[in-house]
C-alpha cells in the first residue's frame, strides 16, 4: 500500500480487529448454542465453534484476537444466559486467557500458526488441551463460587469442557490455521512474535 502507519493508527486498527472479530465470535457463539445446545445449561454448547475462532485469531493477532473471543463470548452468551457478572467472569474471561496460553506456547517453542512442521503440530496438540483445561478449571471455579454447581459437578464439568472445547478447536481451528494463516500473514494486521 505504501502507507506510513502511525502509532495511533496501528492502535485503532488493532481495536478494529477485536471489535470486528468480536462480532464474528458472537455470531459463532449464537449458532453454536442454537445448533448444538447442552441440555440443562443455558448458553452452553456441546461444540463451541468460537473457541476455534479465537484460538486461531489469537495466534494471528495476539491479545487483540483473545479480546475478540472475550467480547464475542460475552455478547453471544448474553441472550441465553443473561449479561451477568457470572457470565463475564466465567465464560468471557476464560475464553480470554485460554488462547493466550496457547499463544505463549507457540512463542516459547517458536511454532508457526501455519502448522508446517511436526514441531508446530506438537505444540498445537499439547497447548490446546492445557489451555482449555486451565480455562475449564477457572470457568467451573467461578460457577462453583456462584453456587450454580457443586464440587462434584466441578470435576465433571472440567473434564467435559476440556474434551468438548479441545475437540472444537482441533476440528475447526486446525482447518482454519492450515487454510487461512497464509492469507492472514499477507494482511497488514498479522501480529508476529508478541504475546501482548
Amino acid at each position: 500500500m505504501g502507507e506510513v502507519a502511525t502509532e495511533a493508527s496501528v492502535k485503532m486498527r488493532l481495536a478494529v480487529i477485536s471489535g470486528l472479530f468480536g462480532g464474528v465470535c458472537a455470531t459463532a457463539a449464537l449458532f453454536s448454542i442454537i445448533i448444538i445446545p447442552l441440555p440443562g445449561i443455558p448458553g452452553g454448547s456441546g461444540f463451541w465453534i468460537p473457541a476455534a475462532l479465537y484460538f486461531a485469531l489469537t495466534l494471528w493477532f495476539g491479545i487483540y484476537g483473545a479480546l475478540a473471543g472475550h467480547i464475542g463470548t460475552f455478547i453471544g452468551m448474553g441472550p441465553f444466559f443473561g449479561w451477568t457478572f457470572q457470565v463475564w467472569a466465567n465464560g468471557a474471561l476464560g475464553d480470554f486467557f485460554a488462547p493466550l496460553i496457547c499463544r505463549a506456547f507457540f512463542l516459547a517453542f517458536k511454532a508457526d500458526p501455519e502448522l508446517k512442521t511436526r514441531r508446530d503440530y506438537t505444540v498445537w496438540l499439547v497447548s490446546v488441551p492445557i489451555a482449555t483445561c486451565l480455562a475449564a478449571m477457572w470457568i467451573h471455579f467461578v460457577n462453583y463460587s456462584f453456587g450454580t454447581i457443586t464440587f462434584g459437578a466441578w470435576v465433571w464439568g472440567v473434564i467435559a469442557y476440556t474434551i468438548g472445547d479441545s475437540l472444537a478447536v482441533f476440528t475447526l481451528g486446525t482447518v482454519l490455521l492450515k487454510v487461512a494463516s497464509k492469507w492472514v500473514k499477507t494482511s497488514p494486521f498479522y501480529v508476529k512474535g508478541r504475546l501482548l
Binding site: 478494529v16 470486528l20 449458532f31 475462532l53 450454580t148 494482511s187
Partner: protein, 273 residues
C-alpha cells in the same frame, strides 16, 4: 416517544434512560455483587420483589424478561441436578443417601432454591439495566468513565457487526447447501468440518471488512488527536453521584450483614467457598 435499545424500545420518560453511565454501571455491579454475597433465601425473595417493582417504577417493558423465564427454568434444572446428586448439606431430615456418599436433606432443597434465586436476581438485575441501554450508551459511557476510547470502539463494533456476520453466515451456508452440502446429515465430525469451511469463508469476509473499517476509522482521524471531543456530553449530576454512593454502600452493608452480623448467611450451614 420511545428509545431503541439492545433489547427493545423503552419509553423516553423512563428514569433509567437519562441516567449517567456511572450509576448504571454501579447498579449493574451492585446487584451482581449483593447477589453473590447473600446466601439466605428470604433476603433473595425481597431482592427479587424489589427488582420487579423497579421494572414497574422505572417503566421498563417486561418484554425483555419473558424469554429469560425460560433461561431461569433451564438453569434451575442444572442447579437442581447438581445439588440433588452431588451435595452433602446437613439437615434434620435426610431423604435419599446415594452410594457415592452424597445425600439430599431439606436443607439441600432450600440451598438449591436459594442458588436459583441468586441466579434469577442477577439475571433480572442485569436485564433491568441492559434493557434500557443502547450501543451509544456504551460508547459515551466508556468516555464518561474516562476509559480508553478504543475499548468503547471495540464494544460498539462487536455489537453492530454481530448481526452483519450472522447474515454472512447464513449466505455462505446457503451457498454451500445449494452446491450440495448437507449440514444435517453425516457423523458429527463430518458436519463440524463443513462448519469449518463456512467459518474459513467468514474469516476471509471478516478480514476484507476489517481492512475497509480500519481504513475508514483511520480516514476519519480516530486516534490521531490525544484528546477527543464528543457530540454528546454526559454530565455527572449530584443525584448520579448520590445514587452511586448509595449503591456502593449497599454492597458494603451486605458484606457487613453477612460476615459480621450473619443475617444474610445461609441458616445453619456454611459452604466451603
Amino acid at each position: 416517544m420511545s428509545r431503541r435499545t439492545f433489547f427493545s424500545y423503552v419509553p423516553s420518560e423512563s428514569p433509567l434512560v437519562g441516567l449517567h453511565p456511572l450509576p448504571k454501571v454501579a447498579l449493574l455491579l451492585a446487584i451482581n455483587l449483593v447477589a453473590l454475597i447473600i446466601e439466605a433465601p428470604i433476603p433473595f425473595i425481597l431482592l427479587i420483589a424489589f427488582i420487579a417493582i423497579g421494572f414497574k417504577l422505572l417503566r421498563v417493558p417486561l418484554i425483555g424478561i419473558k424469554k429469560f423465564v425460560i433461561v431461569v427454568i433451564i438453569a434451575s434444572q442444572a442447579v437442581l441436578i447438581s445439588y440433588l446428586l452431588g451435595s452433602s448439606i446437613p439437615g434434620k431430615h435426610v431423604y435419599i443417601i446415594y452410594p457415592w456418599g452424597t445425600y439430599v436433606s431439606e436443607m439441600t432443597l432450600l440451598y438449591a432454591a436459594t442458588m436459583i434465586m441468586r441466579y434469577t436476581t442477577m439475571l433480572l438485575g442485569s436485564t433491568l439495566i441492559l434493557v434500557t441501554t443502547s450501543d451509544r450508551d456504551i460508547v459515551y459511557g466508556a468516555a464518561a468513565l474516562k476509559l480508553p476510547y478504543t475499548l468503547s470502539l471495540m464494544m460498539s463494533l462487536a455489537f453492530r457487526t454481530a448481526t452483519i456476520f450472522a447474515e454472512d453466515f447464513m449466505k455462505v451456508r446457503d451457498a454451500m447447501i445449494l452446491r450440495g452440502a448437507s449440514f444435517h446429515e453425516g457423523p458429527p465430525l463430518e458436519r463440524a468440518k463443513k462448519y469449518a469451511n463456512v467459518f474459513t469463508s467468514m474469516i476471509v469476509i471478516a478480514l476484507r471488512r476489517l481492512m475497509d473499517v480500519a481504513y475508514a476509522v483511520q480516514a476519519k482521524g480516530f486516534g490521531a488527536a490525544p484528546k477527543r471531543t464528543y457530540y454528546r456530553e454526559y454530565r455527572l449530576r449530584i443525584s448520579d453521584a448520590v445514587i452511586t454512593a448509595l449503591l456502593i454502600a449497599s454492597v458494603l452493608s451486605a458484606y457487613f450483614l453477612k460476615y459480621s452480623v450473619g443475617i444474610l448467611a445461609f441458616p445453619g450451614w456454611m459452604p466451603a467457598i
